[in-house]
Every structure is written in structure tokens, then in C-alpha cells.
């Protein structure tokens, strides 16, 4: 039954896997490859998934592990991803918000998060963007919950510092930072 449930839910979760893969890799061809490999591995190991547990975080966990291994392999091969920044700049593009100050704020938020150290950036993406619980995030990243909380606190603190230094858009939305 676990198999059936996984196979039923997997196609519906593909857009979220795609989004998370893009945010992990910051490059669309890597993201496509990563989603493929994640789905294949999930299907190979479908008996390991416990029915009733969160399928999305299990899939994120598989994807994160594959990506870490890929990065390690690339490091061994001394392959640099020199183009990522530029590629990602295209992906950031414009946001759909009509309100110009909101658009600026969103852009500042995304930029501030993207500048975080990788471990902190991922925690923000999983908790604040994907809406995973601390426990689920800890499982995805294979770290203790306390580590998730401290990374999140540091990440939010760092982002907050940046907004204190350049608060224009945030101030417009919030009525000023006290």
C-alpha cells in the first residue's frame, strides 16, 4: 500500500520537487537531472518510505542527499560552477507584484537569503518558504532539531541585519523600523 500511495502522490509533488531542485542547484539543467534522479531513487526505495510520514520531506531528504554527493563529486573533479550566479540572476527576474515597493521588498528578501551561507539558506528555504516543520527540516538535512533552530535564528538575524542597513522597501511596508 505504501508503494501505491507513493506512486499516486509523486506526480502531484513534482512541481514542488522542481522548485526545491531549482533552489538547491540554482541551475535548471542540474535541477532537471536532480529531479529525475530523486524520483528514480524514491521509486527504487519505495519500500523504505513509512506510510503516514511526510512524503514531501522524505523526497526532499533524498534530493538533498543526492545533491550533496554530486557537489562532493564535483569538488573532487575540481569542477567549478562559475556560471551559476549569472544563470540565477536570470531566474530571479521580475516578481509578479503590482506594488513597486512590494516588488523591491521581495527582491531584497530573496537577495538577502541568497547571500546567506548555504546551510542557513537551506533552512530558510525549507522552513520559511516550503513550510516544513523544524522536525521535518531536521530530517531532510540529517541534523538535530537544535541545529535547525540555531541556523534559522542566525539566518534570520543576518537577513535582519541587512535590512537594518538598507531598510528602504521594508520601511515603506512596515511603517519604519524601530
Amino acid at each position: 500500500l505504501a508503494n501505491d500511495e507513493l506512486q499516486r502522490q509523486l506526480p502531484q509533488l513534482l512541481p514542488r520537487l522542481w522548485r526545491f531542485a531549482l533552489r538547491l542547484t540554482r541551475e535548471r539543467s542540474d535541477a532537471e537531472d536532480l529531479v529525475q534522479r530523486c524520483c528514480l531513487r524514491a521509486l527504487e526505495r519505495r519500500l523504505q518510505w513509512r506510510p503516514g510520514s511526510a512524503l514531501l520531506s522524505w523526497l526532499f531528504s533524498i534530493m538533498h542527499t543526492i545533491w550533496l554527493n554530486e557537489l562532493r563529486a564535483r569538488q573532487r573533479r575540481r569542477e567549478c560552477s562559475l556560471d551559476w550566479e549569472d544563470e540565477w540572476a536570470d531566474v530571479i527576474a521580475d516578481v509578479g507584484a503590482e506594488d513597486p515597493s512590494l516588488r523591491v521588498l521581495y527582491r531584497q528578501v530573496v537577495t538577502a537569503v541568497e547571500m546567506l551561507p548555504e546551510a542557513q539558506r537551506l533552512v530558510i528555504v525549507l522552513v520559511d518558504v516550503e513550510g516544513l516543520s523544524y522536525k521535518e527540516t531536521a530530517e531532510v538535512l540529517a541534523v538535530p532539531i537544535g541545529t535547525v533552530m540555531s541556523r534559522l535564528a542566525r539566518a534570520r538575524g543576518t537577513v535582519g541585519q541587512r535590512f537594518l542597513q538598507a531598510p528602504e522597501a521594508h520601511a515603506q511596508r512596515k511603517g519604519g523600523i524601530r
Partner: protein, 267 residues
């Protein structure tokens, strides 16, 4: 009084009971350090989810959903046919292998775009690309000569030079596919050959714009690669064959003793 970080966070988030609000505000009046901490927390209350959801991300590739659904169907199939336990996974593995033959797996040509512009990395990229291939997709593939010639002519024109591409067929190989890829805006021709046995071998040609260079053979990510440059084009022969065997084939191709598959000026 002492205000914990949790309480301060709840105050900043507006989730504190009124009685506690009063206590925290008194503490804030008394402590500059606490006020700074609260300002930081307030500044970090940001619309993360809305900001990221407003990003214009690239759409999910059209074929991806179809491929995954095909694998799910294969997983169902293998579950029905193979006994439970370890062999079930082997069944799925075999089913996925079969999917290669049916064209359900698409190696991603644009993976080539993820490497740097330096020549050694394009070689790495084609080696990794070649390592993705199994034999099955090419068993029944064939090249339409006219289309291949047109593609090679367009490639040569775009490369800005006269190119002579050796034909490996006299060595007992059959040409199964010719495709044009791109590495950092530079056109690349990728020709897939198949012998009677073994994995495919590819001959890649890239407009290099540099001086001629003699043949060298090396191992890249577990694949053998023979590289040479001639007339402003760089050639790479990529295969999992032993380096000495690969070098022998490449030597014939690089020395001009084989006929040309395509030569600029051909009609």
C-alpha cells in the same frame, strides 16, 4: 527581569499575552541590548514565502512529468511481475533499463552548459555526457544522410572555418546519430557511433579558434578521451574503451587516413 529570546520573539511577532507585553516593554526600556535584539528580530520578520513565491522560476520541463509517470508505470509493472523483497527493486532496475530502449530516459544535452568556458572543462562535460549513455537507444537508430550533411554544413558555417570531419565507419563502426549541442554559446557537433559490441563511442567537434594541436589521450571521469585540434576546430573522441584502443582509433582519425564524413565545400 530576564526576557528570554523565545519571549522576545513572541513579543515581536505580536503573540504575547498582554501581561507579558507589559513586562517585556519594561525590560526593553531598561536594556539597550534588549532593544537592539528586538530591532533585529523585527527587521527579520520578512515575507519570505511571498517573496520566493513571487519569483519567476523556469517552468518544469514538459517531458519531466511524462518521464516520471513512465517510471511509475514501470515500477507498477515490475511489482506485478517480480517476487517481493530484493528482487522487486531489481525488477524496477530492469524496467528502467528497458525504458532507455523506449526513449523514456532523456540524457540532458544542456548539462553541457554547467561547466566553465575553459577547454578542459568542455572535455569533462562531454565525457560525463557520454557516460550517461547506454547502448540500447542506438541499436535501431539511424542517420538520415541529407539532414546530417545540412547540420554539419550549418555547424561549419557557424564555426567560421573549413572543417573536415573524419568518418569512422571504415573501422567497423556504424553512425547512429548526429546532433548539435551548445557549450557556452559555442556550437558542438556530437556524433554517436556503435560497434558490434560495447557501449557507444562519440566523436565531438567544437569550434576552437586556436592553433592546431597534436593528439593526446587521457582519462576523464572514467571515460577515455582523445583530443586533437585542426583548422580552428577541436575534436574529441570519447569512449569507455581502453586508452590504447581509443588512441589507435583517434590516431587514424586525426592523421587524415580515414575518408571524410563531411568536408566544407561538400554539396
Amino acid at each position: 527581569m530576564t526576557v528570554s529570546e523565545t519571549m522576545l520573539r513572541a513579543y515581536v511577532d505580536g503573540e504575547l499575552e498582554p501581561i507579558d507585553v507589559e513586562r517585556v516593554e519594561k525590560a526593553l526600556e531598561a536594556s539597550e541590548e534588549l532593544r537592539v535584539q528586538a530591532r533585529l528580530m523585527r527587521a527579520s520578520c520578512l515575507p519570505y514565502r511571498a517573496a520566493f513565491e513571487a519569483q519567476r522560476l523556469p517552468p518544469m520541463p514538459a517531458g519531466l512529468q511524462q518521464r516520471v509517470e513512465s517510471w511509475i508505470a514501470l515500477a507498477d509493472e515490475s511489482k506485478r511481475e517480480i517476487a517481493p523483497g530484493r528482487r522487486r527493486w531489481l525488477g524496477f532496475g530492469a524496467a528502467v533499463a528497458a525504458s532507455f530502449a523506449m526513449g523514456l530516459w532523456m540524457p540532458l544535452p544542456w548539462r553541457l552548459g554547467t561547466v566553465s568556458k575553459d577547454d578542459p572543462t568542455w572535455i569533462q562535460a562531454v565525457a560525463r555526457y557520454q557516460a550517461l549513455y547506454a547502448r540500447q537507444p542506438f541499436d535501431r537508430a539511424s542517420v538520415e544522410p541529407k539532414q546530417a550533411r545540412e547540420m554539419l554544413a550549418a555547424f561549419a558555417a557557424q564555426g567560421g572555418g573549413r572543417v573536415s570531419i573524419p568518418d569512422l565507419r571504415p573501422l567497423g563502426l556504424t553512425l547512429r546519430r548526429v546532433q548539435r549541442l551548445t557549450v557556452h554559446d559555442r556550437p558542438l557537433i556530437h556524433m554517436e557511433y556503435l560497434a558490434a559490441h560495447g557501449m557507444p563511442m562519440s566523436l565531438c567537434v567544437l569550434a576552437a579558434g586556436s592553433v592546431d594541436a597534436a593528439l593526446v589521450t587521457r582519462s576523464v571521469d572514467g571515460m577515455g578521451v582523445s583530443i586533437w585540434r585542426r583548422g580552428g576546430f577541436e575534436f574529441a573522441l570519447v569512449s569507455d574503451r581502453p586508452p590504447s584502443e581509443l588512441a589507435g582509433i583517434a590516431s587514424k582519425a586525426a592523421s587524415g587516413e580515414l575518408p571524410w564524413l563531411y568536408q566544407s565545400g561538400d554539396s
